[in-house]
């Protein structure tokens, strides 16, 4: 058996993040694509321009279906970036800000 001499590797992106990065963009909206429990984008939104080519209008109901499905951070560094930019969301800086 080959020797397993694993070097110390940096953390790897999750499968979901790898899929996000490598997935192809859909070239058209196809209502037949979705599992039966998922509603496709409202066809009325895109019908007016369908003849001219690509339209990707999405109704709120369609978009909300992704909320619990794609929860991965959009990059490996996102969490640390957000902490630096926004903080932990504890509202701490509100107290120190001068109330003009």
């Amino acid at each position: 058996a080959p020797l397993n001499t694993k070097p110390v590797e940096p953390p790897q992106p999750s499968a979901a993040l790898q899929s996000l990065k490598s997935a192809r963009f859909l070239s058209a909206i196809n209502p037949a694509l979705y599992p039966t429990n998922i509603s496709s984008p409202n066809p009325a939104l895109n019908s007016a321009v369908a003849a001219k080519g690509k339209s990707f209008k999405y109704d709120k109901e369609f978009l909300l279906q992704f909320q619990k499905v794609f929860v991965e951070k959009p990059s490996m560094e996102f969490e640390s970036q957000i902490k630096a930019l926004i903080g932990d969301g504890d509202g701490g800086s509100a107290r120190s800000a001068s109330a003009r």
């Binding site: 794609f70 959009p74 509202g91």
Partner: protein, 230 residues
């Protein structure tokens, strides 16, 4: 470990709904969008440019949710914070060349405790990225914004024009173009205002207001005289 679709050939389209870890197609947005964050001032004479921070640019529905699910909800932000979601390449400032002839629809929620601000901000962002705030050829929407303040939350939609032609706006029937009559320019803005009010679930008794950015700038206040109301 590279999983291949096992049954069908490699042409099979697997969405995030089929397999949330191993999908091979994603949903494009019609525009790229950039999320910005305004940090609350420290009270030590900060430069506005140091407070306005670009967070991330994305162009798929899936990535939008990756961002949204991993940042602080509006209700947890410190006072004097803002989120801005703008089309890529447009700074969320009056002075940006693409904003300076424009304006905004806005509404202040004064009952902060009773307002589902996280849901309202989410819904206005979904209307922006889903392109349902305006018609295909309107070309007005630049971005959406939420302000967290001591006495209120405010949500706004920024537009390219105030319903008139703008310098270098071209000759066509486009936002700011000479080929778009003032009548149509106003109608486009009014329709965006109606949609805005609908997304925010405001009752008919409430009023949303449109004002031009330069009116605001000259009056030295963001509460300039409203140009249109719905």
């Amino acid at each position: 470990q590279n999983k291949q679709p096992s049954v069908a050939g490699s042409d099979e389209q697997i969405t995030v709904f089929h397999d949330k870890d191993n999908f091979n197609v994603k949903h494009p947005l019609m525009h790229k969008w950039t999320l910005w964050f305004t940090k609350p001032p420290s009270g030590k004479g900060d430069n506005w440019n140091d407070l306005l921070k670009e967070v991330i640019t994305f162009n798929s529905v899936e990535e939008f949710w990756g961002v949204y699910n991993n940042i602080a909800p509006t209700g947890e932000l410190a006072l004097k914070s803002d989120y801005h979601l703008f089309k890529e390449g447009v700074r969320p400032e009056w002075e940006d060349i693409q904003n300076k002839h424009g304006g905004k629809w806005s509404y202040q929620f004064r009952e902060k405790k009773n307002v589902p601000i996280d849901e309202l901000w989410l819904h206005i962002m979904l209307a922006a990225i889903g392109e349902t705030l305006e018609d295909e050829t309107d070309g007005e929407v630049m971005g959406v914004v939420v302000n967290v303040r001591k006495g209120f939350y405010r949500i706004g939609v920024w537009t390219r024009t105030i319903g008139k032609s703008i310098p270098n706006g071209g000759d066509g029937d486009v936002a700011g173009g000479k080929g778009r009559t003032q009548e149509k320019g106003k109608e486009v803005l009014m329709n965006i205002g109606k949609k805005f009010k609908e997304v925010l679930k405001l009752p008919p008794s409430e009023t949303v207001e449109f004002s031009g950015h330069t009116d605001s700038a000259h009056s030295g206040s963001t509460r300039a005289k409203a140009k249109f109301t719905i």
